[in-house]
């Protein structure tokens, strides 16, 4: 058994017509994050540090829906959320309703380590971030041109757009939006380090055109994010579906209560029991097994293990091995 990690940049109905330029930028980010995580694990960094490090990188990338590049609420604001959890101790931290904190995942970790609580939200969370001296920026820092356009289109279509997903139905007299698919929902990372510690982290800007105050699955321990002694899981997709199916906890519960079940079996069962098109997840087990499954059209994803296996992919048939920096 050795170290392993997996990461995702969102699952959903990712159109195969995705322009090459947008596809390649995201694939490049996934590869870079895989390298960063791999290097940190080789250096012997603990899993918790690694998932935080990787998710920070994904948050900073404007092409994924977390941190800079977060999608906008119906009020044109950003409200970011994140969660982090450590398997061995079940320690966890979560935040919601952030509008100025550059790296939501790091604030979640501070909540875990420096407060008696697990979950802080909105003004209280912002005040705590300042109290902890975390980097903050004007809310405009997180807003990209793409997301302003995306919100405009969502409002025109008068509906909440689930992540970037689902091509909008064409209405008479309205051109179909140029779905550049820039609104990938959620980023996440799971890892097991050489010492066998499991950890997970997930971060998101939520849904395009969401109601202000809406909380999704990402910060909810057991829904979007969960780790215990058996495995670490980060889920992505339709938040409401992931919440009601307590997706990440369910994978861990199956591993725990059904001895002999492999990570892949548990994950496949949980994803299979969730409505088609709703969910994807990445997971690693205590035995170093890695798993990336989804019932959506695709999932931006990457993984690597100590024995040299590494892959990056979006759709079912394009997952390809990559070499990771040695």
């Amino acid at each position: 058994m050795g170290w392993a990690l997996a990461l995702h940049g969102g699952a959903g109905d990712i159109p195969r017509s995705l322009p090459a330029e947008l596809r390649d930028r995201r694939l490049a980010t996934l590869r870079r994050c895989l390298d960063i995580g791999t290097a940190a694990l080789r250096d012997g960094r603990p899993a918790l540090d690694v998932v935080e490090l990787v998710v920070r990188e994904l948050e900073d990338c404007p092409y994924f829906n977390a941190g800079k590049g977060s999608v906008l609420t119906s009020d044109s604001t950003v409200e970011m959320e994140a969660c982090v959890m450590e398997g061995a101790t079940l320690r966890c931290g979560a935040v919601s309703g952030l509008s100025t904190v550059v790296n939501a995942v790091s604030l979640a970790r501070r909540v875990m380590e420096n407060t008696p609580h697990i979950y802080l939200a909105f003004e209280g969370a912002e005040a705590f971030a300042r109290n902890q001296g975390l980097e903050t920026k004007d809310p405009s820092h997180f807003i990209t041109e793409h997301n302003i356009e995306r919100l405009r289109q969502a409002k025109e279509a008068n509906r909440v757009q689930i992540d970037y997903t689902q091509p909008m139905t064409k209405k008479p007299g309205m051109d179909p939006p140029a779905d550049d698919n820039s609104q990938i929902g959620t980023v996440g990372c799971v890892a097991i380090d050489a010492a066998g510690n499991l950890a997970t982290a997930t971060s998101t800007g939520g849904l395009v055109n969401k109601m202000p105050g809406r909380i999704g699955d990402t910060p909810l321990v057991g829904a979007g994010t969960y780790a215990n002694a058996f495995c670490a899981v980060s889920a992505t997709g339709k938040g409401e579906s992931i919440i009601r199916h307590t997706v990440s906890r369910d994978v861990a519960a199956m591993m725990e209560h059904r001895p002999g079940m492999t990570l892949h079996d548990a994950a496949a069962r949980v994803v299979g029991a969730t409505p088609r098109g709703d969910v994807g997840l990445v997971a690693v087990s205590a035995s170093g097994e890695v798993c990336m499954v989804y019932n959506t059209t695709g999932m931006f994803r990457a993984c690597a293990t100590e024995d040299g296996h590494a892959e990056v992919g979006i759709w079912t048939d394009d997952g390809h091995s990559v070499s990771i920096g040695l």
Partner: protein, 327 residues
Amino acid sequence: MARWAIAIHGGAGVDPNLPEASQEEAKRVLARCLQIGVDALRAGSSALDVVEAVVRELETDPFFNSGRGSALTRLGTVEMEASIMDGHGRRCGAVSGISTVKNPVSLARRVMENSPHSYIAFEGAEAFAREQGLETVDNSYFITEDNIGMLKLAKEANTILFDYRIPDTCSALAVADNHKNGMVMNGLPISIYAPETVGCAVVDCNGFCAAATSTGGLMNKMTGRIGDSPLIGSGTYACDVCAVSCTGEGEAIIRSTLARDVAAVMEYKGLPLQEAVDYCVKERLDEGFAGLIAVSKTGEVAYGFNCTGMFRGCATEDGFMEVGIWE
């Protein structure tokens, strides 16, 4: 026809020295709320309607920490939260950071039924409540004299218990003293700790399960703190198999996703309800104190807790009815 059953709670972690008069008052409130649920179930109401009606009653009564009578934040304000889940279809709704909505549990239900989302918090949730025309009141309505006094005591106790900068022996003695007197819950001596949370779990005569939980949260909590009550799978959970509502140290309940775990143990381990409850209370609550109530689709009721007492009541179709505080 299935057999209906109902269980309610008014929080776990009760001061062993709670005055007799308060104990009697608690039992009266529990019995009254339980009876409301029993009457509704006999009249054929759905599990979802019953858990909402019963929790509204518990919220409205100032005795328990939810709605009127909620614990206060560090700033002396009230921030309430609630969630509701319909086991049939596993639909759910949750709210946090509520400061003016008279019955948070009903707002949680509106989120489930009338919004595209499952969980809305703070200003957005308040705005949604107004849009939905729910009854709102001034924040002061929720604040009771008792709780203002409790907040003062909590602040003093926290200073003693948690200010590690004070190297003198007085804090150590205070901690020792508190341990001698019993337990510390959520960092507070049990005599000051106001049991968090009210909740209800029901299976109706059609065999459908539902659960709801509501709370003012933790006395002296940081503003913005979210506990287990609004979190689906932690404080509240319902599916085709059972319905569960938890109470106690929120952080311990979240870490263990306690409510979901009772259902998971039944589903994946095949244990019956009471054994699943006992297993989760024993195996899941690492260092935390908590309790929970549950019903199964076959009409059983169960409860469990690992702390001094839980305000609770339960009733089943075959005539069994119980209201209690201690083991």
